[in-house]
Amino acid sequence: MSMNRRGLRMAGTVLAAVIIFGPLSSLVIWSFAEKWYWPHLFPQQVGLFYWSKVLQGDMLRALQSGFLIAVVVTVLTLVITVPLAYLLARTPIPFKPVILMIFLLPQAFPQLPVFVNSTTLLYRINQGGKFWGVVLIHMVGALVFAVWTMTAVFKSVPESLEEAAINLGASRLKSFFSVALPLATPGIIASTLLVFLYSLDEFTGTLLVGSPFILTLPVFMYRTSVGYELQVASISALLLMVPGIVLLILLERYMKSEYLSMFGRI
């Protein structure tokens, strides 16, 4: 490679970094700004005042309840999805096209106008503004994501291995537990972590169903941002970014693009 080309390549990489980190960097500065008079380029006074302030009040509560919701959503989704995904990948389960279509609908249509009516249904069983209402509305998106990714995971396990086990006298159940499940575990873990992240980041359903009693970090951040509490909102925004970035780095090699393309919607 010539000097010229290498220089061009460096410039391109720097430009990409500016495009990606530029919008995010003002969040970092705002989170430490104690006094920042416009139009100065940098704050007049920086410190940890707002960090120490937010890490006790409402934000901590939003963080806790959001985390708890995400844990419950993830566990429930995992338990009910793994067997179904296996069936969809391996067997001619009755009504298969109908089942697949129902799990595609939430991907194909705008979510908000539907969730407006889902909220009404949840209020009808007295779960509006409650913990379980939010868990249920999160599970809609989580299930769709989990069913598609985990079905793909089971399809990637060679069927011949299971056939061998069955030929040697193992039952369907036994071949599932001792052949398919262990081989699918890395993929299932990746998909589970993404379900967890989906629930942590979910905004629309939480705002509609949870308000005003159930507060998660995305909704908390929205309220503080439109209320011009810029430091508090920026700290929340930074905290919201952390799990996603950690997962991106951890899972880089395991993630197939079809998992991620479904993920672009939160």
Binding site: P39, L100, L104, L112, F203, G264
Partner: protein, 273 residues
Amino acid sequence: MRPSLRIASLIIALPPLAIVVWLFFIPFLSSAHLSFLREDQWTLRNYSLVWRLYRYDILYTLWIAFVSLAAVLLIAVLLCGYLRITTNKPVEFLFKIPLFIPFVVVGHAMRVLLAPKGTLNSVLSQIGLINLNDPPSIAFGWMGIAVSLIWKNLALAVLLVLGAYRSVDETYLEAARNFGASTFRQIRDILLPMSAASLAVAGAFLFTSMLASFSVPLMIGSGEPPQMVMIDVYYRINYQGDYGTANALGVVSYLLAMGVAGYYLRTITQKET
């Protein structure tokens, strides 16, 4: 399948299916139903209200979605061509980051960056590019929404387009290079035509996602008309409690998203029958 296995598999399918049917499929149908009701009477009044009050908002939404889609596809087609022909791992990784940053955070970050008293203006004023007495505002208008949607969706577009480009066989590109084709010619004459079908799908997918965006316009919209359709639906319910008109607007948005729905339906019926 043995009958006992059939029953067992239906029992396994039931819980996840029940949740999605109850909280998505039924509400989806009921929005169509409610859009024709007003004070328990069947009527088209909701739709005439949508036409009277929101027709410009629908155009505004389409405008933002089309402009953002065009920008995202243009950048992705060229950038992915570069990444496909000469690998650049750092850049590829950088453009995955927005995928994991939720829309609300993007909305807030762009609000801080692009507001009249935002970080961008203060940077530009340092180098004397703008007048501080009359700072331009990119946020709180269609440009702010478009910039945020482009930034966020570019990651998804790069993922999809690069995937399509990678499935183009290397030998075609080598042949073109042997005849002296530049990077741009390789993109225009080989990569682009050979992945046109995947690109169309990616485009339809991105278009629906932009059309349906809610948190970004909520964060950096102006709060005044024109608004994006999802904001109208939300305000109609939150401030007026008018489910009829909100659902009629919802049905309009479903119709606009039909392209993607049609594609999905075709793939299922092709694959599973």
